[in-house]
């Protein structure tokens, strides 16, 4: 099958790749570009471990084709920190121990970043519903919600 040539922007960098027409953006990120921060937990859009931001919209990259990234902006967990300076969400996830195994963490960080971009001062309930598309099996979500609350406070003050 002939490959599709795609030009896109990933974490601010121009990127070009060839992919198969039926290949997901998640597979492109992981297998072709070596960006393995997004994880495949289900492949059906139910777990949110592959969350990315596509043109300011939170999506499951397992439900997007690689070819659909043409001319668009892709943000992944690898783009959250600036050099060795962590994003406040990353820092607060560490301080609050909002991760145990950590497999869901990249997806939660991206979903939380999207949430705070749209709602900088969310209530606990808004955080809980805002992150309801991401599954975590380790933490019971308590420390994740607290980390997001704390990060929101820090980011408001910044």
């Amino acid at each position: 099958m002939a490959g599709v040539a795609v030009s896109t922007t990933i974490n601010g960098d121009s990127v070009e790749y060839l992919c198969q027409p039926d290949e997901t953006l998640l597979d492109v990120l992981r297998d072709r570009l070596g960006l393995t921060g997004a994880k495949e937990g289900c492949g059906t859009g139910d777990c949110g471990a592959c969350s990315i931001i596509l043109d300011d919209r939170l999506v499951c990259s397992c439900l997007v084709l690689g070819a659909e990234a043409e001319g668009r902006r892709v943000e992944t967990v690898e783009g959250m920190a600036h050099g060795d300076r962590l994003h406040p969400l990353q820092q607060k996830f560490l301080e609050h121990a909002a991760l145990q195994c950590g497999i869901c963490t990249p997806g939660f960080l991206i979903a939380a970043k999207d949430l705070l971009a749209k709602n900088p001062d969310p209530t606990e309930e808004e955080i809980r519903f805002g992150l309801a598309g991401n599954l975590c099996r380790c933490t019971g979500y308590d420390k994740i919600v607290r980390a997001v609350q704390d990060a929101a406070n820090v980011m408001k003050g910044a």
Partner: protein
Amino acid sequence: MNFDPRYSGRNFSSVGTRPIRPDGVDKVTGRARYGADFNMAGQLVGRVLRSPHAHAKITKIDTSKAEKLPGVKAVITAADLPDLTDGDASMYDVLDNCMARGKVLYDGHAVAAVAAVDARTARQALKLIEVYYEILPHVTDVDEAMKHAAPLINDAIFTEGLEEKPVKPSNVTKRSQFGHGDVHQGFGHADFIVERSFKTEQTHQGYIEPHACVANVSSDGTADLWVCTQGHFVYRQHCAQLLGLEASKLRVTSSEIGGGFGGKTHVWAEPVALALSRKAGRPVKLVMTREEVFRASGPTSATSIDVKIGARKDGTITAAEATLRYTSGPYAGMWAELGAMTAFACYKLDNVKTVGYEVLVNRPKTAAYRAPSAPMAAFAVESAVDELAKEIGIDPVEFRIKNAAQEGTRASYGPVYGPIGIGPTLEAAKHHPHMKAPLAKNQGRGMACGFWFNFGGQTCTDLNIGMDGTVSLAVGTVDVGGSRASLSLVAAEELGIDYSHVKAIVADTSSLGYNDMTDGSRGTFSSSMATISAARNAIKVLRDRAAQMWDIPVDDVIWENGQAIAKGEKYGNLSPLSLKEIAAQSGKTGGPIAGHSELVADGAGVSFATHICDIEVDPETGATRVLRYTVIQDAGKAVHPTYVEGQYQGGAAQGIGWALNEEYIYGKDGRLQNAGFLDYRIPVCSDLPMIDTQILEIPNPNHPYGVRGVGETSIVPPLAAIANAVSNAVGVRMTHIPMSPPRILAALEAEG
């Protein structure tokens, strides 16, 4: 290693603090490498063909078309995994589960596998494999499987544990019994007796990371395996045995693990990936899909349990009895046995009897799931305990306090308890503000207790001190939720240095001696014991080197606060030597400084918890919402309290999912109907409230700091705590888990 009472009065400097975990930054930046994040040059993609039938004879497998497909490099069936188990029945079951041999035993059972140049070719190849089946009658329900007319899953099974060997085969592999006293007499002294039957459905551990590995077998008999596992040393042994490799030539590296909860303690795909790699002569990466994870990897048992408890008017339990039937999938297990052991472990009983039956069904092979078998037994027993308290007219917390096991109590499963936490967790619950919070209409409060044994096991640890005075700690227990942080704290505590100067890693199987897997809540318990021992061995070396540097007898050198001190007035002019100063001179005083430890971590202290929850039932829909949740559990000594809290919260959340939503749903055809996260719904963020925790510290007498395992007990009480809360909210006793909306509605309607 015994508890050192000097520690109980001591102010720990590192243990008990809450630093950031050493693997944290990699995990928040996407750099941490999990099972599927690793690749090798020239690697192929492995895929497994699975049975669509619950029970069938394989009459023929034709792989010729698949083999001819361009890009396919290997196709294997059971014929490529010859039986090398040498009469080891449980290993034979593992082999049969990895690749069906003559018969498929459940929907999802592997029958063949391919390795191809890419995923698309591998998928196409699977479609070209022709498998001919002769369908056999199947059974998936635990009670149906025990009936005489039930389809037989294995006609070589004759129930073990009966007084007389049965003449006919059956689906019951084993009967086990525990207890003491005379229950018949005990019930005779009871003023009130409650007798109930319960059922619980099968659940999955639900780790977010599917099983994944990369296998590379060379023609010289050496091999490498990268895999997400809770026990890479155990995987090495099992894979080596099944593949006919020498264990020392198979190096297994455990990746970061994206959740396990007991489900990553068994090999499934790994021997298949190794066999594919051996045949293809190239590395093979094999990653399960989510559907495969549900259909073919480790669910827990479905159960059917009868409980009978009797008590006097004053609230003293006079007798307790339970019969527990647990599915083990199509292979023998010891799940009912664990249920029978744990069922009444919280109580001080003169007359107690539990009987367990292991039952074969056409479902996937049961795997451990966090405190395996205990949640179902606790659901039945703690529900009946609440009912009995109601009949007597006594507060359920007081009733449990009155009957709680204590130090010196003979446990219902045999041993006599040392210092334990059941009484203290109940007292803490009684005085917790949660107990007095107001409740509205359709809301109810429930509580329940839970027990887990905890495990120690074989453990090996290396501690190496670098010339700059920093410490590398190599452990062999896989870090499932922050143990590298807690073990670094322990090393820092023993050596008297700062946490930031210790770096802990999980070593591969070629770099460290054998370790049992991270199960039984043993990770921090056993590896901290080995770390303490290794650090103390290193301190012996440090003292010796300081003695050399000072040219004084080693017996005059003591180790205190991270430095060597010359003891006695005669050395008044010698200033202490820090670990860093001694390490800097190590090249001149005898070479590298290290401490090693190999031990069996005996004496894991048993663990108890009491949970309190408030729920609200919507009488229109039957949906139940958890409003408030409190976990009180004994940790012995919390090494990193934040991660201890995390274990309490995570276990409670899993228990809440089990109680309210999660279940395997099989069709009449024996096929799993909800093999995905959309239809097998685990709790999401908006389903849960904050989960409050209270850590109690009743030192474990068998650990130097008093540490107990903390990982599992928290999943034991929620099923009953929520059932008791539902009963208090809307007056129906739910006896079937999960308490999904249709079941609650049906119960409400039946109540009228």
